[in-house]
Structure formats: structure tokens, C-alpha cells
Amino acid sequence: MTTQHVSVTVNGAVREADVEPRLLLVHLLRDVFGLTGTHTGCDTSNCGACTVHVNGESAKSCTMLAVQANGASITTIEGMEQGGKLHPLQQAFWDQHGLQCGFCTPGMIMQSAWLLGTNPDPTDHDVREGIAGNLCRCTGYVNIVKAIQQAAAELRASEPEGAGAASA
């Protein structure tokens, strides 16, 4: 078994490891780095439970190799709370009962964060389209949509005029 060295920035900190080329990014994060907030739900890139940000773009980490992410900057659910303050999406999912078992929640929040970065003022349909790659079995999505809209409103209110789109 040959290994390759990977160096990634995860939630702002440089992390390194020697890995098999076939190691999936989700396993690098979970099994090597111990960041177990990112989950695996389907193996075929349908459910989105493993969604993280790679260089600012949402990605399904079960469908990306760790070596593909070498050199990239990665944000996981563990990187969303800043300075002891919940990200507006984390707060909104809590406020709006946007989660039940919590298993899809990290992926759902990461995808929502990407969505609001690209579309700060989405319609409900935009929101549903934006999370169509993330399956939730518990909530029926109603409260997830509400939560994302709550966070969207808060993020818009906290951004200077016209700067919202840049905050992916």
C-alpha cells in the first residue's frame, strides 16, 4: 500500500496526513482528523449528509478523494461556530425546529450556508432547490426551509448593502 501526503486547511488550521489515494475525504475528516460532525448516509452521492465546503464550494465528501482535496481549504460543521457564537444557520435550525434526529443536520447546514452565499435572498423554491441534494427523513423539510429563511434574513440584516453575495 503506497500512501500520499496530504495537507489541507480544515476550519482554519493546517492538518496533514499520509493516506492511501483511495481514502475518501469523509474518512479523512472523520477517521483521521476525528471531525465526526460530517456524516455518511448513502455512498452514492444522493443524500448529502457528508456535505462540507472545499475551497468555498459545497461538496459531498463521500464522493471526493482525500488526495483530491490536497492543498484545499475545507470547512466542516465544526468550523461554523465562531468565537462562541453560533452561525446564524445553526441558531435558526435550533429556533425553527429544523432538525429532529440531527443526522442530516451538519450536511444540511453546510449546504444551506453555501446556498445563502450564492443567493442571499432566496425564495422558498430557491431554498428547496438549493437543498435538493440533501435528504432529510425526519422533518419533511418545512421547518428547514423556515430556518434557512430566518438565517437569510439575519445575514442580510448584518451585511452592509450589496456585500451579501460575497460572504460564501
Partner: protein
Amino acid sequence: MTEAQAPTTTAEVAGMGHSMKRKEDPRFIRGQGEYIEDVVLPNMVWMDIVRSPYAHATIKSIDASEALAMPGVLAVITGKDLEKAGLHWMPTLAGDKQMVLPVDTVMYQAQEVAAVIAETRYQAADAIQAVYVDYEPLPVVVDPFKALEPDAPVLRPDRGPEKANNHIWHWESGDRAATDAALAASDRVVPIDVYIPRIHVASIETCGCVADFDPVRGHLDFHVTSQAAHVYRTVISLVSGIPESSIRVKTHDIGGGFGGKVPVYPGYVISIVASLTLGRPVKWIEDRSENLQADSFARDYHVHAELGLQNDGTITGLRVKTLADHGYSDAAADPSKFPAGLFNVITGSYDIPQAFVEVDAAYTNKPPGGVAYRCSFRVTEAVHTIERLVDEAARVVGMDPAAFRMKNFIRKDQFPYHTPTGWDYDSGDYHTALRKALDLIGYDELRKEQAEKRARGELMGIGISSFTEIVGAGPSHTFDIIGIKMFDSAELRVHPTGSAILRLGVQSQGQGHETTFAQIVAEELGIPASKVKVEEGDTDTAPYGLGTYASRSTPVAGAATAVVSRKIREKARHLAAHLLECSADDLEWTNGKWSVRGSPDRFKTIAELAFAAYTNHPQGMEAGLEAVDYYDPPNLTFPFGSYVCVVDIDKGTGQVSVRRFVAVDDCGNIINPMIVDGQIHGGLTMGLAPSLYEEIPYDENGNNLAGTFMDYLLPTALETPAWETAKTITPSPHHPLGAKGVGESATVGAPPAIANAVVDALSHLGVTHMDIPLTPHKVWRVLHEKGVA
């Protein structure tokens, strides 16, 4: 009848009726939940499983030599290895048995054949590719009707020569002769054939475990995603011979259950054997294909039902004959006396004088199961049948389906109502719920719109479902799982400084127990819910309980929590009498304190009393403030609701879209309205799923054709409508809180509303029934046959 009863506690206390934000969420939104795959133990190894490509075959040989020589591989376990210890078969919850690993015959595609244990999950995954199993294919039985034909291959010769067929059991309920007579005397009999297909709960977290046997202490820690930890402990002890006191089952956070995490799967037993053998922790996490192909299925009922009617639309009787496909083993999670679960609740919300229900079960070459899909004990199958049949009956007698229901509903003044199949409905007000749903959706306007659209050749349908659920198993005189009576438990300890810990035998999988059960204690004792820690899922600490499924947590464990709180309250009363130097009889309880009747300024709060319980209790009274309750419900509870659905059908493609869906639910008194609504949203979505998308089909060779999420279609946010919910409140008269349970109502109630809407959209073409899932190609075929498409 209001949307919700007003809370009587403050927002700080947050008793019943408060939409308290969930106490469990802070860890989930940070990615700090601890699910089974997050459990990592020192020295842990991984297990992966070799599975059969054949649905039925003889195993001629297994060659594991190449696998054993691979890097990191520690062991390969086969059925022959288990046979030596008598562990190759295990009992199912339904009193049948199933293979842990086969010795000579595989019974379904993807069945476990051998297990590989390796240092890492990647090594284990590699090694299963190098275990060579030589099979000789055998004839495959996929169709349960063919399974019962005289010349069908006998799938389970282990049952002995006296059972040389594929018939598992026959079960019936109600009065056959009286029902036959009632139908014979009816003006007409309306028949219907309904197939409710095999589906899978597919919680987003798959199943898995870590078995950790410590050979020095002789102790097994078993970490597992289970809805019923104590039952697992008992089963593991019975199967393995390890004393129950040396087994601890710990469930951690559960990523969705819905019934799929009730059975004990072969992988669990194998991982325990592997840990016993190696003396190291063994982890097994199934992948999605294993989950969809091998875990317990739900439904798979072929129902023939007939409804007797008078010409004025009065229902006279119901006769039902059903064939249940159980796969190669009956591994249903039903109570012992009810092999077909509570299927005989099939008389539904209607005042039906006579009913007779019979069910036969058959073996086929499919995986075992018969568990819930967010529905208790075959109630979905029953509700789907009666609600489809009632719609068809209305059509036959020329009545509006809403009016037909109103005419035949059990009236409010008939409760408690004894059904012809033996149930005693506790309370209900079906007319009010349906009227509310019709008003909310604007039923009359929709019928007008439908008529206009029909005239233009457009297809639109309106469907109603007025269901009665049956939950809260159960009264122990009737209900047990493998002999264990279906009570549930709560243990409450109030600490000296006034906070408390509540331990339960049930198991949250997202229902929010840490919040709602704390709110019950808050309601009953006045201790703020934020100061009540709720703990579940550790058999070393929790009192024995049967677990969470079948919407039984609130009806049973919720009642236990109320009763245990009242026990504490009663002891606190004697403490208060001691402190206030008065007779306990002179005290009254209001808002978290005992006060002297007539002297409201003389009182002791629950916090003061808790302190006194450890610091200043009277001589002769036991110190401390704790109690335990094993609650045995006097009856089941019967939540109900009326749902109305509007669908539009694309005539060219057969695609069905749900335009609106109004759900009026009545689950008695409500603990946390926010959580109840969340449960209904989720339940509706799991009702939508099998109505339009999900099915596990098999080809004629027994291959599962929906083995990934590419083919097993869970609805996304785009397919799921914006559910509209409302409530009526009819408390349960026998539950201490008047609550009934709600987690599964919507999954039970939604499918017939959707199916009825689709059939309604096509009824003018002469369509009388269609089976779910109502896929585009099925709808198109009907349209094509009717000359529309």
C-alpha cells in the same frame, strides 16, 4: 376543540403546551452528536460482510484462504464456525428463527454469508472480495401466492416434515359467520384488492454497532443504534449465555429509527462473536446497499376487502382476507398474540356492525422483516385498505366521499367505542376533524374547480383520509414482545438543589425526548424543564423498558413520567407537612409548590422540598426524593385525524404532483406543539414517499432492484409539499396527561389521502383503484388504456 390548550406553567418552567426549543439541539447543530459510527474505542477492529449474489442457493464451499492472507485480516467467520457454538440461527422477535450465517443454504439476495474482521475498514472491504463462495443456484420463490401453491419448493425444511410448505401462520379476528350474514343481507358488497408494497425505512443513518467484549472482566459493552436497548440486552444474553448483568447496551444518538432499528440483525450477533473470539472491540457499520437489501422491510401485504352497504350508504359489514409476504423468516416486531400486528383496527373510523379479518403469512426468498415504517404494527396497511375502500363505496352509491364518511363515522357520543374486532377506542370526534380539514382546504371550491378542469380535459383530484390510529402498546394483559410485557418505565431523582434527572426505558431517535419528557416533569412538579436532565439508552442506568416504536413513548413512558412525578409530589407533600407543621391533608398543590389550604402565603416550593429531602426530612421518613414507575397502560390510545389532499396529474407523462395537503390531527393533549408539528411534517413526508416514490421491487430471480438511493427514491425538498397542519384536541380519558401519541399518525393517514386523490382525478374515466406507489408509468398506463394518453 381548540388548536392547543393554554399552558398553565410559566415559560421558565415550560410545562405542557410550551413550544420549548429542544434541549438536544445544541450538540446536533454543532456536529457534536455521538452516533454509532462516531464511537471509536482503543484497539478497535472492523468487520465487513460477504453477501450472497443469489436469492436461493446451496453453498457448496467457502474458501477464505486468500482473504486470510491479506494485510490486516484477523479472522473470517462462516456459518460453520457459528454452528459449533449453536449460534448459526437466532430467534426473531416474532417467534420464528433466522440465520445469523447460513451453513448450507442462502435464502435471499444479499444475505450474510461470511464476515471478515480486519484492522481497518478498508482492509476488511478488500478482503470480502477475496472470499470465494461456490454456490449452486436453487429455484427462487418471489411471489407469496406461488409460494403457497402445492408444488412450490419448500423454503424452510428446518421446520420439519409436518410443516413441509411455505405457510407460516393464519390469524383471524372478528365474527366470520355474523360478517358473512351481514354482507349477504346487504344491498351491495363493494370489493377491493389492494397491494401495499414492500418498502424500507431508510433512516439516513444506517445500522451499525461496536461490540466490545472484555475477556478479563467477562463483560460485554454493546454499542448499537437500537430503538430498544433493554430488549437487545435480554436477547443477547439469551443467545450468548452471557449473564445479563455482564452486558451493557448503549445506544448513543440515533440517526433516525422509524422501526428499522428494532430488530436484532445478524451483523450484530456476528460482531459480538468476533469480539468474544478476538478480545477486541469490533465495529460494523452497514453501507446503504446493505441497509436497503438486507435490513427488515415494512408492509408487503396483499389485501382483499369487501364492504357491505345499504343503498343509502350505510355500512353493514367488512370482510378482509390478506396474504402477508414475510420473506424467508417472520422477523416482524409484533406482539406475540398479534402476528399481523394491530391489522384488525381496519374498521377504522367507521361504525361497522360486523367485521371479520383474516391474514395468512408466507415464506419467500426475500429478506425477513415486517417491521414498522414509522407506523405501529400493520396499522398503515389497515388504514390504507379501509380508506380506499370507503372512497370506492362512496363512488358506488353515488355519494361524495366526505359525506359518505360523515354518515358512517363513529359519533362522538359513542365513545368509548367497542369495535367488532375487539378494540375499545378511548375517545374521538371524527366529524369535527373532517369538517375542519374540509373548511381549511376549501373543499367545495375545489370540487367546483375540478368540475371546470374536467370539462377542459385537465386532471385534478381531491382525496380524503379520515384515519384512526392505535398506539401505546400496551396493556400488559394483552401485549408482549418475546414474552416481555409491554409496560414502560421512568425513574426520577430530584437532587438536593432542585434539579433532577429522569431516566427512561424508551429511546429517542429524533422525537425530542430530552425536551418533552422534561416538560412533563416540569408540568407535574414545577421544576423548570431546563433543569431536568433526561437520559435514555444505557441499560446500566435506565430502568427496564421496551423502547420507542409504534408511537408508544408518550402513551406509555410519558404516562410513567407523569406518574413517577406524582409519586415524588406525594412524598414532597409529607415533607411540606413536616416543614409547615401541618397535616398533609391540609395541603394543596399549585404551580410547583405545596401550600396550606386557605393560607396561600404558607407554602414550600419543590426546590425547598427537594433540599429538605436530603437535609431536614422527618424521623422515620426515608431520605432522598426519587421514585421509579413501571407504567402499565389500562388501554391503548387512539389518535385520529382527517387529511385532504389535492393533486394535479400531467396527462402526457402520468406525473402526479401534490398541490396542497391539509392535515388535521388529534393526538389528545399536547406536550410541545412545535415538536408535534415537526412529527406531523415528517410523518406526512414518510406518507408521501411510498405513495409516489418508494418501493423495493424484486425481479423474478429475487434480485432487489432498489439497492441504492439512485433507485430507492426518498423525496427531496422539491417533491415535498409545504404541509398545512391544524389540530383538534380530544384528550385520552385514561392517560394521566390526556395525551395519545403522534409520531406515526401522519405516515398512516397520508397515503390513502394521496391515493384517493389520484383515483379521484381519474374516476370519471372509470378508474376505481390504483396501488401505490403511483408512479408516472403506472398512471400513464391507466390513462393510455382509457384512451386519454
